[in-house]
Subunit: 209 residues, 2 copies
DNA sequence: TGTACATCAGTGAACGCGCGTTCACTGATGTAC
DNA sequence: TGTACATCAGTGAACGCGCGTTCACTGATGTAC
């Protein structure tokens, strides 16, 4: 096994261990020493292969984004029997929102890491990571466009963002327990309610014109 | 000045200083030594008057909640010319949501502290603080009840929570800059759009029955 | 194929920093007589 | 009003802990001849 391969293996093992740790203990539970112990190397070795613990977290977050995108894709492809047009677009938006909720519920800690992680002051997110986020948004924009084909793309992007934010808010406060626990079923119902209300609102707006 | 008065003064000064610091530097910028320096006492003196830094943060958060509630009250009292019933209730919900957004935009750091602060593992929020949160929710429930008088109160509470969560999501991701900056005006428009869509959806649901 | 040398992965103890909290001490405030 | 004493606010140096990161060292891997 070449040196380069060994390096790559170590890096892969570190990312995998970091992912397990994040899933189990969250961002604040990730420690260099624990990682080293889990992977079976010295603390110092980590820094041969990675600049930073932040590097590792970004790698895990990227995997989480990819997994989420996979689920959204699958949900989108599973066609409902609804007719083309408004109803179908709304149904798709609802399905995506519920998929998002379910993903967050099933991978709460990994999903939280996505939003809670902050790079140290002054350090910016790498471009590839930002691109991956934008990619995700395009999933929302497509059915929105179907719903309101007359909207210019900047308005569409804004609405996509708001819709995502609204769903994200429901999921976030829903999975938190500060305000009492809400069962997952009830959260699904609420998500459906609110996304279809927004969808119908948008469709109605077009009808009014 | 009695000893008790001096104690109270010190505590007040500490809360005020903590509030200024939180507003200026956020949760992670609050340090015992800085507070002592700002108030003009020794570090140790803080612990004569307060158990914990967490105690101070809770005190500030409580003030923030009260300020927010004040604004919501004012916004609610400013009656619009809309007729009674559905339209009026929706208008009120929209006004409250925009007020919430404006408050968060004007007091971003204090408002963030409200949601970002976590007590150490195993320590629960004091009852008076939880009560204050619940109190806030009642503001949302009232117009919702006007909009859907037939809903049982537990369903109402759930919808109030979802509506709040949705708005909170829009405000949170809007004031964050991870996904690019959105001007406050645009955020207001988006908030209005989404709250009225949800409001109409709720009203329509009633009409359908 | 064998040998000498250079590179660099791998080691883990130690560095360094930040920071909440404590603690032994002091002196002012308040009380009892 | 004055005196003796007790209490406790106030002090700030020191404790203690957690933890990311470095660094001088070692030995295995790979290369050149």
């Amino acid at each position: 096994m070449s040196t380069a391969e060994r390096r790559q293996n170590l890096k892969d093992a570190l990312v995998a261990a970091a992912e397990r740790t994040l899933a189990a203990r969250g961002l604040t539970g990730l420690k260099a020493r624990d990682l080293a112990a889990e992977v079976g190397c010295a603390v110092g070795a980590i820094y041969n292969v990675v600049d930073d613990l932040d590097d590792l977290i970004l790698a895990v977050n990227s995997r989480t984004l990819a997994a989420l995108e996979g689920e959204l894709d699958a949900a989108t492809r599973a066609q409902s029997g609804a007719p083309r047009g408004g109803e179908r677009a709304i149904a798709r938006l609802v399905r995506m929102a519920v998929t998002y909720l379910d993903f967050a519920a099933a991978n709460t800690q990994l999903w939280r890491a996505l939003f809670d992680h902050r790079l140290p002051e002054g350090r910016a997110l790498p471009d590839w990571f930002v691109a991956q986020q934008i990619q995700l948004f395009s999933h929302v924009e497509q059915p929105l466009h179907e719903l309101a084909p007359d909207l210019p793309s900047d308005a569409l992007a804004l609405i996509a963002r708001s819709l995502f934010s609204a769903v994200h808010g429901i999921v976030t406060l829903g999975l938190e327990e500060k305000l009492g626990v809400v069962p997952l079923d009830a959260l699904r119902a609420q998500t459906t309610l609110i996304v279809s209300a927004i969808g119908s609102g948008l469709a109605a707006r077009r009808a009014r014109q």
